[in-house]
Amino acid sequence: MNRSYKTLAIGVLACVLVLALTPYVWMLLTSFKGRLDILSPQPTWFFTPTLSNYPAVFIDKEYLPLVYNSLAISLGSTALSILIGAPAAYVFARTDFAGKEDLFFFFLTTRMAPPVSIAVPLFLFFTTLGLTDTIYAVVIAHTSFNLSLVVWMMRGFFAEIPKEIDEAAMMDGRSKFGAFVRVIVPLAAPGLAATAVLCFILSWNEFLYAFILVAFEGRPLTVGIPGLITPHGTLWGQVAAVAVVATLPILVFTFLVQKHLVRGLTFGAVKG
C-alpha cells in the first residue's frame, strides 16, 4: 500500500469517525449537563458537570427496573433464538431435503416486511394470549426476527465444519444429536458467540415492538426514554443519562467480540 493511499484512507476513516461519534459524545456530555447548560442557545463543550441526572431518573423516577427488563428481554430472546435456530441451521447445513433452499429463503422473508406492518397483528395476537405488558411478549416478538438471523449465520458456520467430524463423533460412540451438542456446538462456539451477541444487540436496541407490546411493567430502557418527554418539556439530561446507560453493554460486547463479529458476518453472508 503506498503512502498517499494510506493518508487518504486515514482521512476518510477520520471523517466517518467524527460523523459517527459526534452525536454520541454530545449525548455523553449532555448527560452530565445541568438543565440551563442543555437549553443554552450557545452550545458549549465546557460546563460545570453534574451527576444529578443519573439518580434523578434511575432512583427518583424508578428507571432501574428497566435495565433489568432490557437485560431479561435481550438475554431471553437471544437464548430462545439460539436454542431454536442453531439446530435448524445445523439441519440446513447438513441434510438435503425437498424444498430446502425455499424454506431457507422463507426464513429471510420474515425480515422483509417493514416491522410496523406486523405490529398490530402482533399486538392482537398477544392480547389474545394475555401476554401484553409482560416481557414474555417482547421476548417472543424479538425471537421472531432474531431467529432468521441465527439460521442464516449459523448455517455458514456449521457448513464450515467438515461433516466427517460429525461422522467421526458418531463412530466414536455419539448419537447424531450427541455429536451435534457435544462436538459440533463447541467447534462452532466462536460463530455461536458472534451470532448471540448480534441477537443481543438487535433485541436490546429494538423499540417498536417493545413500545407496542408493553407499557409499564415490562418496559425496557428503549421504551422508557419517551416517558421523559413530559407535557412540561423534555428532560434532555435524563434522556441522555438513560441513553448512555443503554449503550454501555453494547459497547462492552462489541469490544469483546469484534473480531468474531466481523468474521461471523462475512462468513454468514458469503457461505449462507
Partner: protein, 351 residues
Amino acid sequence: MTVSFRQVTKRFADGTTALDQLDLDFELGEFVVLLGPSGSGKTTACRLLAGLETPTSGRIEIDGKDVTEVPPRFRGIGMVFQNYALYSHKSVFENIAYPLRIRKLPASEIESQVKAVAGLLRIGDYLHRKPAQLSGGQAQRVAVARALVWEPAICLMDEPLSNLDALLRLHMRTELNRLHRKLDKTFVFVTHDQEEAMTLATRIAVLKDGRLVQFDEPRAIYRRPANRFVAEFMGRPAMNTIDGKVEGGVFRGGAIVCAVDCPDGPVTLGIRPEQIEFADAAAPGAVQLTVDVKEAIEPDTLLIFQNNGGAAVTLRTQKNCDVIEPGQPVGLSFPKDALHYFDAATGLRLA
C-alpha cells in the same frame, strides 16, 4: 466373527446407483481392501458397513446379526477418515481419549489405554499438542489411534493415505502392515491405489460401477484377473491387452502374431509388460515391432511399441536397453504360458 454384505444396493437421491447387489463375506483378522476407480462404490460400501449410510435394499450382517438398521455407535466399528476428522478444539490426548470418555471409563484407565495406543503408533511425544500443530503423517496416526483405542473388532479406513506425500505414504503403509500383524483385528481399507492394495491386503475386493468384479488374494488377482478391467487395473504399467482373432491356434492382432491355446474366434489377448521377452527376429514365433517411446525408470526400462494402429504394447525389462532407440525395430516373443485370454465382447476371462 464374519462380516457379510447380502445383496446390498445403494441408490442415492439423485438417482445414481453407488452399489449394485453387492455380496461380500470376510472373516475376523483379515485385511480387506476395497479397490476400484472413483465412482466404483468402494467408499459407499465402507460407509454402509460403518452405518453412516443405510442401504436401499439388502442386508449387512456382523457375526450373523443383521446390523442394517443399527446406528454406528452400536456396531463396534472404528473408522479413520480421509481428512482425519480430528477434533481441532481438543488436544491429541483428548482426541484419542474421546471414544473412552464417551464410554465413561475411569480416568486412570483412559490414561493408560491412550498411552498404550499412542506408543504403538509412535505419537507419545505429541499428546499435549493441538491437531493444528501436527504434520499430515502425525495427524494420520492420531486418527488411527482414535479408531483403535477402544479396541473395536473392525477398523475401517477410507483412503487414509491419499492426503499424504509419496514417501510418507510408503512409510504409513508399512506401519499399517505392522499394526495389522500385531493386532487381531479386521481391517477394511478403501483405496484406488492398486499398489497399496497389493501390499496391504489379505484379500482384495475389486469394484467397478458398484459391482464386485473379483474378490481374492492379491497374488491370485494379479495372476488370474477375472476380466479385462481387473487385468488393466492391477499392475503398473498396466497389462497389455491386444484385440485380435484366433485362427487355427494362431493369434493375429495388428502386427502381432503368436501361437495360443485358445479356440478360434475374436479374442482379447493379455500379457504383462514384464513377461514379454526379447527374441531374435528370425526365430520362430518372434514378432518385430517398432519402438515408439523409451522410458528409463531405473533399474527398469519401459519400451512402448506401436502395433499397426492397435493399442500400444508396453514392455518392462531390467535388461540393458542402452542401444535401443525410438524408431528402431525390435524382435519380441510372447511366451504362451504368460498369456491371458479375455472374451472380446464381455471382457471375461476365458479358461
